[in-house]
């Protein structure tokens, strides 16, 4: 897993196509997935995309491992809901469509205050300070119920003020399209940021802060400015959250949410700009869909995270880009049988792990419902020896198969990388 594998870069024409596709997906998604559950998920995905992208400004682009990014999105949510209530009282007049900007400004302000402290340091100390600040803000939520609303949080109603062009933000669809517009614009802006002097110097600070000081830049300033911009976009995500849920509780600033930003940004891949978008989609799929399907979803998530950290530290986007690079050299087709075998073996492992985990959960949590449980449409007796023997056998077979195929795959992969190197050398010589 060397850096060389990530050096593939798509051409500029592709960039326009990709942005158009992104806009189209945002536009068409609610027409394709029409159920109320998918609508809920789509709106949350938009919010998560902005939050994870803003987080990756720190992690992927600035090398800043923050454990407290939810502070900025969460306080953005609180600022937005207080303003929303002022609007509902008739005290203030702010269009609902601009409410996310209120969240953004709050995020920016808080990041300007706290960032002055955190960005003085880098590396482990930075990470520790963000962790401390995260805990501090969360504990403040219990001390200041006037602002944070205590246990119950603060509720509001987004259908207030004068409708603009007949848009009341009552129906979920209208909220979705508001979020979609913000998602698109914020994504474009954050991508544009990566092509500005500050954005590039942020990469330089990530790579080698020491040298940055000798080419005229104050590394603390670079980190501080980037931190504020990340806070701004996190705050926008927070404002959208307020509009979508109409209730904000203290958990939005909590360590769980901060951890989720980190985990899913990493899973999506911090090395590429679009990685966190994938991560955000996975975040909503996991927290909404997977958690509906099984009580053991956090366990599965943990296992998946472990496997990714060990075998694909570049995340899903890293995997995609590595394979696109092979495709660019026309070498992807050499791998498709291996991929098929890998996928097959993985399915067997997954099924085996799934059965075992679900059986354990059933025995521990659903014993009152009897020993029978259904898994993938099949009825399984969790007290029967055959079920356990079968599952164990399946697991051993799956792991064995996977390991066999994996070795073959690693060998093949190395061979292909060598061929690509040779090809590059040939091209350089000509």
């Amino acid at each position: 897993m060397t850096d060389k594998m990530y050096t593939f870069r798509p051409v500029n024409v592709g960039r326009i196509v990709l942005w158009t596709l992104f806009a189209l997906v945002l536009l068409v998604a609610p027409k394709v997935f029409t159920s109320s559950l998918s609508m809920t998920m789509l709106t949350q995905m938009g919010i998560a995309i902005i939050a994870c992208l803003s987080y990756n400004m720190l992690l992927g682009q600035g090398g800043m491992l923050s454990f407290g990014h939810a502070v900025y999105s969460g306080l953005g949510s609180f600022a937005a809901i207080h303003v929303l209530n002022k609007v509902a009282d008739g005290a203030w007049s702010v269009p609902i469509s601009l409410l996310p900007l209120v969240g953004g400004l709050a995020g920016l302000l808080v990041a300007a205050l706290l960032g002055a402290l955190t960005t003085k340091k880098s590396g482990t100390i930075f990470a520790m300070i963000t962790l401390g600040i995260g805990e501090l803000v969360f504990s403040m939520s219990l001390m200041l119920p006037e602002f944070f609303g205590g246990e119950g949080g603060i509720a509001s109603n987004r259908v207030v003020g004068e409708p603009f062009l007949g848009i009341t933000f009552g129906p979920e669809t209208e909220v979705y399209y508001l979020i979609a517009v913000y998602t698109f614009v914020c994504t474009v802006l954050m991508f544009a940021f990566t092509h500005t002097p500050l954005g590039r110097m942020l990469n330089a600070v990530r790579d080698n802060p020491e040298r940055v000081e000798f080419i005229g830049y104050d590394t603390q300033r670079v980190r501080y400015f980037a931190f504020m911009i990340a806070g701004f976009f996190a705050g926008i995500a927070g404002g959208l959250y307020t509009i979508n849920f109409e209730i904000v509780t203290a958990e939005v600033v909590g360590a769980h949410r901060s951890g989720a930003y980190l985990l899913f940004t990493f899973l999506g891949g911090a090395l590429f700009f679009f990685g966190p978008i994938i991560g955000a989609v996975m975040m909503v799929l996991a927290t909404v869909l997977l958690s509906e399907m099984t009580k053991a979803w956090l366990l599965y998530l943990g296992i998946f995270f472990l496997v990714m950290v060990m075998y694909a530290p570049g995340g899903v986007s890293g995997l995609i880009m590595m394979n696109l690079r092979l495709a660019a050299y026309g070498m992807l087709r050499r791998l498709w049988t291996s991929y098929l075998a890998l996928g097959g073996a993985l399915l067997v492992v997954l099924a085996a792990v799934g059965v075992i985990v679900e059986m354990i959960y059933h025995i521990k949590l659903n014993e009152a419902m009897g020993p029978e449980m259904t898994f993938m449409g099949a009825t399984i007796n969790t007290h029967g020896v055959d079920a356990w023997v079968g599952a164990t056998f399946l697991l051993i077979t799956g792991v064995g198969l996977f390991e066999l195929v994996r070795r073959q795959f690693v060998h093949q992969w190395g061979q292909i990388q060598e061929d690509i190197e040779a090809e590059n050398l040939r091209q350089q010589l000509h």
Binding site: T2, D3, K4, T7, A192, F193, H195, T196, P197, L198, G199, R200, M201, N203, A204, R206, D207, N208, E210, R211, V212, E213, F214, I215, G216, Y217, D218, R221, V222, F225, I229, Q428
Partner: protein, 266 residues
């Protein structure tokens, strides 16, 4: 002191009784050095003489214990490295110190940005900064890495990394350049080309370079400063330094003998 003041106008870099201690150990012991603008000076001396420490003091990486350092007549000791850099002093490092996940061109462009007034701008696209990009392309040509423009630093050969190290150093347009063993670890033929390149890119600038290769030192330098145990024991033209008894005794005799032995061996 009056002598110093009188000559201050023509001096690019001046060290006045600079001292540096680490704990109780004094590494730099009252170093005096006055380098004229446009001069090429080689700093030589045995291992542990304090050459790299001296570079770190001048460039602001380490604070001095006492004394004064002046850049173009202005005191710079106590300043941060980036403040010193903004005043026109740029340095390279003995071990290549680059941005590994950026391309060769991006490395150079980063080094150009501040000097062209771009600072922390996040409202302008890099691709639209014509002056910056033009300067970066020029530097790319000067250090002969045009063909590696979009290659990541990790894919460069050692000599190419050394060239980029010099490129990043000069890209900001500083007029006082400090190079820390730029040719260390290179082959003879690589070194010859490299010295030619250094000559070109430092044309009209003030150069202070640490160097172990005596061929390079005598070929490149207008004057040579000999640092032994934290003191400059000689600062003179190459001819005079070569015939200086104290230098011979302290350092050069053994080095020249080694060099000759090495050449005879080859």
């Amino acid at each position: 002191m009056s002598e110093h003041k009188a000559s201050a106008q023509g001096l690019a870099l001046e060290l006045r009784s600079v001292r540096k201690s680490f704990g109780k150990t004094e590494i730099i012991r009252g170093t005096e050095l006055a380098i004229k603008a446009g001069e090429r000076v080689a700093l030589i001396g045995p291992n542990g003489a304090g050459k790299s420490t001296l570079f770190n003091l001048i460039s602001g990486r380490l604070p001095i214990t006492s004394g004064e350092i002046l850049l173009n007549g202005k005191p710079i000791h106590g300043m941060k490295p980036y403040e010193i850099n903004r005043l026109g002093l740029a340095r390279s490092f003995q071990v290549s110190n680059l941005f590994p996940r950026l391309s060769v061109f991006e490395n150079i462009r980063c080094a150009v940005l501040w000097s062209m007034g771009e600072r922390y701008a996040f409202w302008r696209f890099l691709s639209k900064l014509d002056a910056v990009n033009q300067r970066a392309e020029e530097v790319l040509d000067k250090i002969r890495l045009r063909r590696k423009r979009d290659v990541h630093v990790t894919s460069l050969t050692y000599a190419e990394q050394r060239a980029l190290e010099v490129g990043v150093t000069i890209a900001g347009g500083g007029d006082v350049i400090l190079l820390d063993e730029p040719t260390a670890g290179m082959s003879k033929s690589e070194t010859a080309n490299f010295v030619r390149m250094i000559r070109e890119v430092t044309e009209g600038k003030t150069l202070l370079t640490v160097e172990h290769d005596m061929g390079v030192v005598f070929g490149l330098a207008d004057r040579i400063a000999v640092l032994v145990y934290g003191e400059v024991i000689a600062f003179d033209t190459p001819e005079n330094v070569r015939s200086n008894d104290r230098v011979k005794e302290a350092y050069l005799g053994s080095v020249l003998a080694q060099n000759q032995a090495a050449e005879a061996g080859v």
